[in-house]
Symmetry: C2
Subunit: 388 residues, 2 copies
Amino acid sequence: MSFSFQGMQYPSLADDNILDVLRLIRTLNVGPVTFFQLISRFGKASAALDALPDLSIRGGRKNPLTPCPRETAFQEMEDLISFGARAILYGMSDYPKFLHALNDPPPLITVVGHSSMWKDKDVVAMVGARNASANGCQFAQRLARELGESGLVVASGLARGIDTYAHKGALPTGTVGVIAGGIDNVYPPENAELYRQVREVGAIISEQPFGALPYSGSFPGRNRIIAGMSLGTVVVEASPKSGSLITARFAMENNREVFAVPGSPLDPRSKGCNQLIRQGATMVESAGDVLQGIAHLRNQPFEENTVMSYASDHSEQPISEAELAQTRSLVIEKLGPSSVSVDELIEQCHTSAPVVLTILLELELAGRLKRTSGNKVYLLESVVEKVA
Amino acid sequence: MSFSFQGMQYPSLADDNILDVLRLIRTLNVGPVTFFQLISRFGKASAALDALPDLSIRGGRKNPLTPCPRETAFQEMEDLISFGARAILYGMSDYPKFLHALNDPPPLITVVGHSSMWKDKDVVAMVGARNASANGCQFAQRLARELGESGLVVASGLARGIDTYAHKGALPTGTVGVIAGGIDNVYPPENAELYRQVREVGAIISEQPFGALPYSGSFPGRNRIIAGMSLGTVVVEASPKSGSLITARFAMENNREVFAVPGSPLDPRSKGCNQLIRQGATMVESAGDVLQGIAHLRNQPFEENTVMSYASDHSEQPISEAELAQTRSLVIEKLGPSSVSVDELIEQCHTSAPVVLTILLELELAGRLKRTSGNKVYLLESVVEKVA
């Protein structure tokens, strides 16, 4: 099934079985991109789950991949309900609308609080340094308050520093916290009271399993949701190479606006923001700058996302093993420990996109391939050695 | 006489009589633009001096304009010599080379210290708020030191705040102070020691008469020299509508680079700089940014300046009074209390440029017309009334 949004067609999971969806996305080696490729190939999560073991073997896995057990998914659903949270599937009317347009949207998010937040209002993200300056925190709080008063919802990451003051400033008008652990996992602990307040007036979102602790790898995913549900991302203070710049990059890659607050070159926490401004981010001195900067995105369709373009690439006809076998070694040969663009790979292999995409899917399910942002893939080190 | 510089021909006053030049530029109603128009029309300062009374009468002055007396100019030369200063004429090899390319270069500057400063090295200007923050001052001093160590001379205005720290940072390598009063006039008084130090290791420049006090109208002229002798102007801290932004505008109008140091939106002293960056100024976080930004201007010719284009516009044949009389009332009618572009005026009058320029020259000498930056002119209020 698919649904229409701002003149674009998107796939939808709204009619799928929620337990099957949960099982599929909670299965080892299944990330959002793979999830949607499986859905576009097999139609429903249940059919994809059935196909997983065989696909992983074809990708070179010794023992077939075991899908997340039905009992585990059921337990997570029970835990979510007891906690007062709910799961929202991609394509449902409660799913943050702009998140649909990502190349790797979460198939399922868990939410506590008011999901009406992002239905009625447009969302703007505010992120920044955890060790922010007093000035930075003050500015973040003021800007968030003004953005809220201008009718926007402020999304942030419930972290220390800028995130904290962004949420605080937007509490009177509504704010959304996206977290890197399970929906029940408050991190950092000193933000427990803020978590409670945000939940009460706004909402908390997580794509991680209930009970999961945040880990280094889950923060970029959290950041992509913050940027992805927002028309623009404001970076208030950020040192170079900080997570805030990753959030800004997600925003840029997904055709959202990037805003940055300038600061003194003497403060290392300004370097990241000043760098963004050099690269073309809009300078923010007041809420008006943000409102002006996102105006052209309001009620505008985004470009077709990769999820959809993959779906339309796939022929109804299943691809034969003979066809795949012919190309598999070529694809593996062209892969290495450095990321390579999937589009480039398809072009260099002189074969149809569905064949290459299927081979990549199988490699990923076998645990031999990783995806990075910007629709790129790379082989895991040990596999490279094995091939060489 | 003219001289060649970076592939362009410029007029030169080097062979003119220095006393005549001094008398002409010190005469009431004779500014730099008028000065060079007179020179291009009459060839030498002495001939222009002879023509002045008649021209002013034709422009509508009741009593003929009296040129600055020979004795007054002689006294100024004596005072300069006693003070240890010297006069450098436009076109002399000691005249700051890039200042030649302005539309309104000073015909004569007075200098104490080492005029070799700007002969051997390229100059960069640093300006900013008088009530600068501690951070701003620290940054200015560090940047000036680094620019100096990179082989550049730092020019500034010997004012309080940023100017002071820019000079201090560049003292070990050489710095130039341009002042708004006469060369002997230290302002503000607390910078007397800095004046002495800059004079010793670098140089001080003024275009004002010896002994003159700085006045509100002399600061923009001072700022145009700072920007005009430099390949680029760095603004460190500046509130909106400050003099530093005028300096930046001079730099822009004369095809020099403009640099600005970003700062927190919470500090009003950052507003001017952030505004410049929005308008396309290069952001400065280190000396490297400045060096990179001016690289393309080093050893590059500037566009032909207005002084030269006027000179080449003028025919050898003198313009008849009959010709002028025909157009004079039309030109006056088209002028008003708001600035109007001279080029626009020439076009609208459907006559040759020399005729319009001569009429404007006469009006100015009569004290009825003022020039503003960007080659614009306006009528003085009382004259407008008289015409109406």
